[in-house]
Amino acid sequence: EDKVVQSPLSLVVHEGDTVTLNCSYEVTNFRSLLWYKQEKKAPTFLFMLTSSGIEKKSGRLSSILDKKELFSILNITATQTGDSAVYLCAVEIGANSKLTFGKGITLSVRP
């Protein structure tokens, strides 16, 4: 059975802190790993990772994939209250490119 596990499930930090969110996976026929941010209702796309060791970066957010150890991390530096959200990790699997999601990590950034 394909599994995507995110940790921790929730996290509370103060503004300015750096956070690392984890996503590990056990799947057959891996194709890519994606990160989404969900603030209110609709998740919005952050990153797609297909190759090991190549960091993707967007402002204060960055992400990297390790295909040998089967995990990815999402880093957020100098956190702001606007970073408070649920962060979803998903793995694209198989020939039909189906996405399997983890349960999400709830991040709360306090002023």
Binding site: R31, K41, A42, A90, L99, K103
Partner: protein, 113 residues
């Protein structure tokens, strides 16, 4: 910008009712998906479609059906709603091919009483 529109933000129905959730995308995307999201369980795929009149079961299709008569519209149908179908329903679409960058609708919070 891609827009994925779900017809209702909130919906309250009675047990046994037939429920239709509508989703429309405006970017000519090939692929459309229905997920439900529950606390502690994350997003789970109900059904998806890669083409008009085509549908495939996801991980939790029981109690649901779908319809895709036009490329831009994907409907989720609860034939006889039950209380365990109370959930947030999210529709998504993607262009197709490798790398499923999904664009999501704002969700429909369905309560079945």
């Amino acid at each position: 910008d891609v827009k994925v529109t779900q017809s209702s933000r909130y919906l309250v129905k009675r047990t046994g009712e037939k429920v239709f959730l509508e989703c429309v995308q405006d970017m000519d995307h090939e692929n459309m998906f229905w997920y439900r999201q529950d606390p502690g369980l994350g997003l789970r795929l109900i059904y998806f479609s890669y083409d008009v009149k085509m549908k495939e079961k996801g991980d939790i299709p029981e109690g649901y059906s779908v319809s895709r008569e036009k490329k831009e519209r994907f409907s989720l149908i609860l034939e006889s709603a039950s209380t365990n179908q109370t959930s947030m329903y999210l529709c998504a679409s993607s262009l197709g091919g490798r790398g499923e960058k999904l664009f999501f609708g704002s969700g429909t919070q369905l309560s079945v009483l």
